[in-house]
């Protein structure tokens, strides 16, 4: 009897969850479907079965040079992440392994910088960028994205490094390992998973950042966020093209995101929920 109830329960839960999940996913699904329609099909009412044409994809590249924006997105998100890691790893490392009196305060202060609204510094940053010729430059934007995400990177690394047991280090030292050997052979292998998770989440955040990437670029350094925003004042029929451009813009990050659910929880809650 208990078994039958549980199967029934499971069936209802499954049906309900799938319906809700598909409703939530629907806008993404419909975008992917529409990207395989022609512009004429795209405006002829609700239709889940596209003709399968890829003309929108070729049009997006031919008319707007999609690939350049894509490359900028890759360069900016990966570049800013690597830069942030280079700055953050030593900091997180020292905070986790030789915490001082001020470590906690410094961490909290870093977190507080993340809470400063971007608009509060919009004009000064804009001026600084304009006067130093960094406006619409990849390097300038890369540094900007690095600074925005630096607190999250330090925090995430810190929560990972803190879990590396200190006894292992002592054991290595007892066995006569030098500091250099300790870092290369003991610490690094244990830190790599944490660094990789941090990197993944940070690339996602940088890829989707949609304030500075739009405001500090015009054409040369513009990533996909800026490119897609240019569709807000369209000319003529563009539903299928918008869908194709959107699908291409979100696909890589969507797939990365699916693999990073756990890291996402940890990174975005600053370790408060694991």
């Amino acid at each position: 009897m208990a078994r039958a109830v549980s199967t029934q329960h499971k069936t209802i839960a499954t049906a309900a969850a799938w319906i809700v999940a598909l409703l939530i996913f629907f806008p993404i699904l419909y975008t992917i479907i529409t990207s395989f329609k022609s512009e004429q099909e795209a405006i002829q009412g609700f239709n889940l079965f596209p003709s399968g044409t890829t003309e929108s994809y070729t049009a997006v590249e031919a008319q707007s040079g999609y690939f350049k924006f894509f490359l900028n997105s890759v360069f900016l998100s990966v570049g800013s992440t690597i830069l942030a890691l280079l700055v953050a790893i030593p900091a997180a490392w020292s905070m986790a392994f030789s915490p001082g009196k001020w470590t906690k305060d410094i961490l909290m202060w870093m977190l507080s910088t993340k809470m400063m609204p971007a608009v509060a510094v919009l004009f000064p940053i804009y001026l600084i960028f304009r006067d130093t010729g960094l406006l619409d430059s990849r390097i300038g934007l890369m540094v900007m994205l690095m600074l925005i995400n630096l607190p999250i990177v330090v925090w995430m690394l810190y929560t990972y490094f803190r879990e590396i047991p200190g006894e292992i280090l002592e054991a290595a030292r007892m066995d006569g390992a030098s500091l250099w050997n300790e870092i290369v052979y003991v610490l690094t292998p244990m830190a790599v998973p944490g660094i990789a998770s941090t990197m993944l989440l940070n690339i996602i955040l940088a890829w989707n950042e949609a304030f500075w990437t739009i405001r500090l670029t015009t054409t040369e350094a513009a990533p996909l966020t800026a490119f897609i925003s240019s569709f807000s004042s369209p000319q003529g029929l563009f539903w299928a093209k918008l869908s194709a451009a959107s699908t291409l813009a979100i696909a890589p990050i969507l797939i990365m995101g699916w693999f990073s659910q756990k890291q996402l929880v940890r990174g975005l809650t600053f370790g408060a929920v694991k």
């Binding site: 419909y30 030789s98 000064p124 739009i214 925003s229």
Partner: protein, 290 residues
């Protein structure tokens, strides 16, 4: 264990992060504060100079400023309400035993990874468009009149879009917390005859309270600065109907070049964020002590 030498090494390793963040935060913020007491217009510099608090006074006298603060609060409040309640319900649902749980999770979390301009444009054109959108198709199917979402209910439309983006985040965090609930405790409560409702109120909800706090705080930080969604859908309109504080600051600074007013708006945004930050820090800080 830590010697004087490792201490100074630690300080040296921390320096780049601290210095960079400090410079990035303090220098521009000081500029903004300075500008907020100035009349400064790069296009019309004749009347430039110190004006005291008059830029701030505009927030009381100018309806656009008041409306933008109101819109900011409405947007943050509604999205928080929708995502937290929706997130709890969804997390409870997904936590049930079912077939294909992994795929359900992936489908539900997906909107969070969609970049804001894409999310907003997809909703604007494919879903809410009064002529070609799916909502219009549904309305016509039932013989109704399609709604012009962004013309008639711009704030509601933006709230729906932003809630769609953040519901997955809330769900994921709350689900993670739910799954860390001790199974034995749940069973014990069940054995004692506690029904679903009382188990939820006395066991599940207290267990999730910390996760709920974290969701509220982190979402507030991000929701206070919603920008791209408004830029690509309503552009703040009609009139100022869907202009929030960040959007108004952007308009004043980069479109109208009224830097003084924009800076005052920026400082008010900082004050708003600081009120939130104060509570956020306490919640996260408690976690550090354990």
């Amino acid at each position: 264990m830590a010697t004087q030498q490792t201490r100074s090494l630690a300080r040296f390793m921390m320096a780049p992060s601290v210095v960079l963040l400090f410079v990035w935060m303090i220098v521009p913020l000081a500029f903004t504060l300075w500008f907020s007491f100035q009349q400064y217009n790069p296009l019309n510099p004749i009347r430039d100079g110190f004006v005291g608090f008059s830029n701030y006074a505009l927030f009381y006298s100018n309806p656009a400023f008041l409306q933008s603060i109101l819109n900011t609060l409405i947007l943050v409040g509604s999205v928080l309400l929708i995502t937290v309640i929706g997130g709890i319900l969804l997390a409870l649902l997904i936590d049930q035993p079912m077939w294909g749980q992994g795929i359900v999770r992936i489908l539900v979390i997906s909107p969070f990874f969609v970049m804001p301009p894409v999310a907003a444009l997809v909703w604007k054109n494919m879903i809410m468009h009064p002529q070609y959108g799916v909502f219009a198709d549904i309305a016509r199917f039932f013989g109704g009149q399609p709604i012009d979402w962004f013309g008639q209910y711009p704030m509601l439309a933006i709230i729906i879009i932003v809630a769609w983006q953040w519901l997955p985040f809330a769900t994921l965090i709350l689900l993670t917390s739910l799954q860390s609930l001790d199974g034995e405790q749940k069973e014990a409560a069940e054995m004692d005859g506690a029904g679903f409702i009382s188990r939820f109120i006395y066991l599940t909800l207290p267990h999730m309270s910390r996760a709920i706090t974290v969701v509220l705080l982190i979402q507030t930080i991000f929701l206070l600065s919603v920008y791209a969604e408004i830029l690509v859908t309503t552009n703040g309109g009609p009139g100022y109907a869907s202009t929030n504080l960040p959007f108004l600051v952007y308009q004043k600074a980069l479109l109208e070049f009224k830097i003084g007013q924009a800076s005052a708006g920026g400082i008010i945004a900082v004050i708003l964020a600081n009120i939130v930050a104060f509570f956020a820090m306490r919640a996260v800080g408690r976690n550090l002590d354990k």
